[in-house]
Each structure stands twice: as structure tokens, then as C-alpha cells.
């Protein structure tokens, strides 16, 4: 009986293998047809949803073109890198890249992306901070997608509980003002001001980008030793020593902290709104104010960015014209359909584009009942977006970020006493990890 079972198993296996082999040859034969565009991205509720909406718009205009949007979870970069190493094997026509990673690809894989400026995209229509990292010389390689425009999220009910009027704080503030507010709230309610994710670099990044200072020098070497970095760390240190930080240990814990009312606020980008809304009990309590100003740094603003990604066309594509035309007429299109598309994805996915003409859409200006006094948060975020200073990432952004964040963690743990120590430790780790 066991022998029978075994032979059946083998038979079935062989059958399957032949079937899946023949399937593969089918699909490679089919890809010769020019009218199918494949796109890689990763979040079904966010950028996949958005890309599918764009595909719908384009299909109306060009029914002969089908656009397949593929969900590539985790480490899409690793996979693309493997594909580029193998001479373009398996790569799609279009892929979404995190803004912080793209400079690595543009520099390490020259010629792998289609120059879209040469294809006639008008980049003056996009938020400039998005365009800069995808530019090299006269070439611009991407179509900007979403903004990570940041704000400071505050619990109006706790401000009221501290005897203050929330509306007095819906303005541009400096960090000293924010710290003073935090101390009052803490004294009255016992809650720390900020839910801070100790494992993440987001907070410091938001602060430093708001000053317009770069993490890297022009020659690409790391540049921690700047007033922007030092002042930002000093602010964090002060927040910490005054007990205004609720130290969360990673993403889950951080979400649990602000949704569980462990702190009076936090600072991050607009894409967190979806997560906020998973706690309907807090409806009507949250408000968003501009990113606080880092004092003592020339060029600092009340606006910054965290996250965001953009679309790129691979040079290896066989459908370059269709792919470029698709992006141009949807994501960079000024037709009514294209602008309405931006309006749709803002409501449907909370994805705010960086295409400036789209900002007039009805969903941008709509009041949102989830927020305190129905604040039209998207209108505010889109206004701040236009102010975001440019940040360059270079190929070594991740190593830079990890090293500095590790040093910060050591500071909070009490192992590094002064800001200079933090910077020296970060520099040392960066050198070892990158080997330069």
C-alpha cells in the first residue's frame, strides 16, 4: 500500500513539474506582445490601490493596453538588484522605489532607468523636494508618487485637560514652545508629550530634513557633525530628560502607544492617518499642527518629510513608449481624468500625490470629522508639502541612518554621555559598516 502511495506521489510530482514548466514557456512567449505593462509595488491598501486606479484611467483612454500591478512584499530592492545583476532578468516595466533607496540604484546601476525628462515630463509641476533625489546631471529618472509630508499630531482633549485652548496651538511653533506645552500637559495629565519609537530613525530624520541640512557632504562622505544634527539631538535629549518621551520599542508598540493614549502626541507623516483611524474611540480628539522648528539652524522650516516613493521605468523594458506614455498621461497628466484620479486615491488610500496641480481636488479641502473640529488635515499637509526642504540620500543612506540611530539608542540607554560622543560613535560605526 505504501509503495502505491509513493509512486502516486512521484507521478503527481512529475506531472506538476511538467505542467509548471510548460506554463513558464507560455508566459515568456506571451510577453513579446507589446501592450502589457507590468508594475511592481508593495502595499495593497496604498500604492497598489493607487496604481490600479491609474491603470483604470489609462485603460479608458487606451483599451488595448493592460496593466498588471504586482504586489512585491518586503525587500523589493533586493529582488530588483538581483534582476539587474542578471542583466534585467525578470524585471517589470515599471517599479516603485522608496525615495531613500533610489540614489543607490541610479549611481550603482547607470543606464538602468529611462530618462523621463528627455521623454518630456514637466518636472516644474511636482514638489521640488521629490525631484531632487531622482535627478542626476540633466537627467531625471522618476515620476514622483506620494508625499511623506509631516506634522505634529496632538491630542486636543489632553490640551484642554491641562487648562489650555487647543486652538492656540494650531500654528507654527518652535521646539522650545512645543517643549513648554509638553511640560504643561505632563504636569496636568501625567502623560508624556511624544510617543517615540526608539528603534526608528524617523523622528531625527524629520527634524534634520526640516532644517535643509544634508546628512552627506558633496563628495558623498557622511556629515554628522552639523548644527542641524547636533541641535536636533539636543532637543531629543531635553525631551528625554524632562520625561516628555514615551519610549516605544518598535512599530507595533509605537502604534499601541498613541492609539492607547499613552502619550499626548507624536510626530510623523500623513500616511499614519489610516492607522490612527483604526482606533475610532479617539475620533474628534486628534489635531495636527505644523512640524516644530529646529532653532539655531539657518534655513530651518516648519515643514518636513518622512517616507514616500516614486515610479521608475527600467531601460530593459520592451514597452518603453507605452510605459512612459502611461505614466505621463496619468501621474503627470493635467487632464480632468488625471486630476480626478489624484483626488480618488487621496480618499481611497490616504495617498497624497506630489503633483502640484492636483491639490485643488475636493478631497484635499474636505473637512475630516475624525479630527478635532473637523480639521481639513489634507489641505494642511499639502500646504506644508510645498515647503519641504530637499534631502539627498546617496547610496549610503541606510548605513548612515542605522549608525546614527544605534548611537542615539546608546545615548538614551545612558552609554553615551555627550552629543559629541554620539556623533563620534555614529561615525565609527558608519565607517566599519560601509568599509570606507
Amino acid at each position: 500500500m505504501k509503495k502505491g502511495l509513493l509512486s502516486i506521489l512521484v507521478l503527481v510530482s512529475v506531472l506538476f513539474l511538467t505542467v509548471s514548466c510548460s506554463k513558464s514557456s507560455d508566459s515568456s512567449g506571451g510577453s513579446a506582445k507589446a501592450q502589457k505593462i507590468t508594475v511592481w509595488c508593495w502595499d495593497p491598501a496604498f500604492n497598489i490601490y493607487s496604481m490600479k486606479e491609474a491603470a483604470k484611467v489609462y485603460s479608458e483612454m487606451h483599451p488595448e493596453v493592460t496593466i498588471e500591478v504586482v504586489d512585491i512584499p518586503e525587500n523589493i530592492e533586493g529582488k530588483i538588484e538581483a534582476g539587474l545583476q542578471a542583466g534585467g532578468a525578470g524585471l517589470p516595466d515599471i517599479a516603485l522605489f522608496q525615495d531613500y533607496i533610489i540614489e543607490k540604484f541610479i549611481q550603482n546601476y547607470p543606464g538602468s532607468f529611462v530618462d523621463l525628462k528627455a521623454e518630456g515630463v514637466d518636472y516644474s509641476q511636482f514638489a521640488q523636494y521629490k525631484v531632487a533625489p531622482m535627478t542626476e546631471g540633466d537627467s531625471v529618472y522618476g515620476i514622483p508618487f506620494d508625499t511623506g509630508s509631516t506634522g505634529f499630531f496632538l491630542r486636543s482633549d489632553l490640551i484642554t485637560e491641562a487648562g489650555l485652548n487647543p486652538e492656540d496651538y494650531q500654528k507654527e511653533m518652535t521646539w522650545s514652545e512645543m517643549i513648554a506645552l509638553g511640560e504643561t500637559i505632563k504636569a496636568a495629565t501625567g502623560k508624556p508629550l511624544i510617543a517615540y519609537d526608539n528603534t526608528s530613525f524617523d523622528f531625527l530624520r524629520i527634524m534634520v530634513q526640516s532644517t535643509g541640512t544634508q546628512f552627506f557632504k558633496d563628495d558623498g562622505s557622511v556629515n554628522y557633525n552639523t548644527p542641524a544634527v547636533k541641535n536636533s539631538i539636543a532637543i531629543l535629549e531635553e525631551l528625554h530628560s524632562k520625561g516628555l518621551l514615551y519610549m516605544a520599542e518598535g512599530w507595533n508598540n509605537w502604534i499601541a502607544a498613541f492609539n492607547g493614549s499613552e502619550a499626548a502626541g507624536f510626530m510623523n507623516a500623513l500616511w499614519i492617518i489610516g492607522t490612527l483611524k483604526t482606533q475610532p474611540d479617539l475620533s474628534g480628539k486628534w489635531m495636527v499642527v505644523p512640524t516644530p522648528l529646529v532653532e539655531g539652524v539657518a534655513g530651518a522650516r516648519n515643514a518636513s518629510n518622512n517616507g514616500g516613493s516614486s515610479w521608475y521605468v527600467f531601460s530593459s523594458t520592451k514597452n518603453k513608449d507605452v510605459a512612459v506614455d502611461f505614466l505621463k498621461s496619468t501621474w503627470a497628466g493635467t487632464s480632468d481624468e488625471a486630476l480626478e484620479f489624484y483626488n480618488t486615491i487621496l480618499k481611497g488610500a490616504g495617498a497624497m500625490g506630489t503633483f502640484l496641480p492636483s491639490r485643488g481636488g475636493s478631497n484635499y479641502t474636505a473637512p475630516d470629522d475624525f479630527f478635532y473640529k473637523s480639521q481639513a488635515v489634507y489641505e494642511d499637509f499639502s500646504e506644508w508639502m510645498a515647503e519641504v526642504p530637499v534631502m539627498y540620500y546617496t547610496p549610503n543612506y541606510l548605513a548612515m541612518r542605522t549608525a546614527l540611530n544605534n548611537a542615539l539608542q546608546n545615548m538614551f540607554a545612558g552609554n553615551l554621555k555627550s552629543i559629541d560622543d554620539v556623533i563620534a560613535a555614529a561615525e565609527a560605526e558608519y565607517k566599519q559598516v560601509t568599509g570606507n
Partner: protein
């Protein structure tokens, strides 16, 4: 029995025939990649551009304190977690086998289950359980075992303890099953004879059970050592990419980060891999030597 040389040749040919399919797969999917990565070791790799650096990657490794830190963590986990787990697995098996035979099958099953859990569920759950205001700290605070919450995930010392606990949770039952199997292989008449001689349970354990379990202990040790050398999942997901501040960084995780996250430097990552394989090989060699001597 025919013992002619042509018969020997026939058997020898059959032997090669039997291993051929596996060897073809081995050459294509193991040996070739390994050989290729031998070439990578000599390269400094940035995207399309590669530069021959000879032994440069090893020089760089010698100066890379994070690598040495990671290696030392591997050894810490190996030296503390493996003996702890193997001891625990053995004790549990012995008690189940002799002390409480009731529900033995049930306990065996239940204790084995953690090693089949999906990694995603396991890591999300442990992170939620172990956070400062998580269930475990709250329980211990309520029982007055501790005064202040323990930073299971964000204190460099306790994060290592967390890894050790998580590994123990996941693999003790797995090893226990091997011990149970080993115990079943021991003839019960030996114990009955010892009982007649008036030997206490503890004496029975040290004089009969322990010596007979040595093959199982070594099996557990060797497989666990290999597993710990390649330790990756727990520090990556549970303590957030080897955090806090590299306190739980391991060599395998560092290789992954060098190759796929930080630098895309496959040359350096390959060089790190070879050193890791070398260390694991030396450890396996020592253990096998011990095994042979014991036998």
C-alpha cells in the same frame, strides 16, 4: 555469495547510480553557487562595478568591530542557550518517560508545536508580550517579582535574554522528542534490575539514563550549534534587526544586511559567509571528534 570483482564493480556502479540524481541537483544548486561565491570573495562590489580587492575583504573584516561583536553574540547564544535547552529537553523527557506517564503523548505533541508555528505569528506575539508594558512585565510586577519593568526588547542585556528565551521556547520541545525516542530505545529491564538492587531514581539517572542518552545529547548539540551559528530570524524580527544598537546582531543577520539591506556588497557578504562556515566547520569537527571518542 558471489564475491567476484565484477560483482563488486556492479555494486559500485549501482551505488553511483543511486546517488546521481541528488548529485546533479547538488552540483547545479549548491556547488556552482558556492564556487561562484568563492570568486565573489575577492571583489568589492557596487552594483555594476566590481573591483578586484584580493584578500581586502578579509582585512576589512578584521577591522570591522560589528562583525566581531556579532560573532561574539553567536558564541554567547551558543554557550548559554544550547546547554540550557538541551538540559531542559532531557529533564522534561525523563520526567515524562518515568515520572508522569499519564498524558505523555499529549504533552509530547503540545511541547513540540512551537517549532511549527509560523514565524510571523511568533514574532509579532513575542514583541507584544515582551514590550515594557506587555503581559509578561505586568504579570511579574503583580507577583512582586520585579519593581520596575524589564526592557526585554530595548535593554542590551535583556534583549539577549529575550533571544535565549525565545529560542528555548521554540526548540526545547523539538529536542525533547528526540530524547523521548532515545529513552524508548533503552531497555526497561535495566531499570527493573537497578530497582531490585535498590538504586535510587537519581542514581539510576546518572548511572543508566545519562550514559545511554549521550548520542542524543550530541545529536541535539550538533544540530543546535549549526542552527545557532546561522541564527537569523529571532534577532531580525524579534529584536528589530539586531537591536538595540547591535546588542543582538549575529553573523548571519550581518551578512544579510551587508548583502541586501545596507551596501549590496555581495563580495564582503560572501567573505563573511566563508568565515562563518569555517567557524561552524571547526565546531562541528570538535563535536564529531568528541562523539567518536565517546563511542
Amino acid at each position: 555469495m558471489k564475491k567476484s570483482s565484477s560483482y563488486h564493480r556492479y555494486l559500485n556502479r549501482t551505488g553511483w547510480r543511486f546517488i546521481t540524481p541528488a548529485m546533479i541537483l547538488y552540483i547545479v544548486f549548491m556547488l556552482y553557487p558556492i564556487m561562484y561565491s568563492l570568486f565573489l570573495v575577492t571583489q568589492k562590489w557596487r552594483g555594476m562595478s566590481r573591483e578586484f580587492v584580493g584578500l581586502g575583504n578579509f582585512v576589512r573584516m578584521a577591522q570591522d568591530q560589528i562583525f566581531w561583536k556579532a560573532l561574539s553574540h553567536n558564541f554567547i547564544f551558543m554557550l548559554i542557550q544550547i546547554p540550557l535547552m538541551v538540559f531542559l529537553a532531557m529533564i522534561l523527557a525523563v520526567i515524562l518517560n518515568q515520572g508522569i506517564r499519564r498524558f505523555r503523548g499529549l504533552f509530547r505533541t503540545v511541547y513540540f508545536l512551537p517549532c511549527v508555528t509560523s514565524l510571523v505569528a511568533y514574532s509579532v506575539l513575542f514583541r507584544i508580550l515582551l514590550q515594557s508594558n506587555g503581559l509578561l512585565n505586568n504579570l511579574m510586577l503583580n507577583l512582586h517579582l520585579i519593581d520596575t519593568p524589564i526592557g526585554w526588547l530595548n535593554n542590551p542585556f535583556w534583549a539577549k535574554v529575550t533571544i535565549i528565551l525565545a529560542l528555548t521556547w521554540r526548540w526545547t520541545g523539538y529536542n525533547m522528542v528526540f530524547f523521548l525516542v532515545g529513552l524508548q530505545n533503552i531497555d526497561s529491564e535495566i531499570y527493573e534490575a537497578a530497582e531490585v538492587d535498590g538504586a535510587s531514581k537519581i542514581r539510576q539517572f546518572f548511572n543508566i539514563t545519562l550514559p545511554l542518552l549521550i548520542p542524543v545529547i550530541l545529536f541535539s548539540m550538533v544540530t543546535s550549534t549549526n542552527g545557532t551559528m546561522q541564527l537569523f530570524d529571532e534577532p531580525n524580527i524579534l529584536t528589530n534587526e539586531g537591536g538595540p544598537a547591535n546588542a543582538t546582531m549575529t553573523v548571519a543577520l550581518y551578512i544579510y544586511r551587508q548583502a541586501f539591506v545596507l551596501n549590496s556588497d555581495f563580495g564582503y557578504a560572501s567573505a563573511l559567509s566563508y568565515v562563518m562556515v569555517l567557524v561552524a566547520g571547526v565546531l562541528a569537527f570538535i563535536q564529531i571528534k568528541v562523539l567518536k571518542e565517546r563511542k
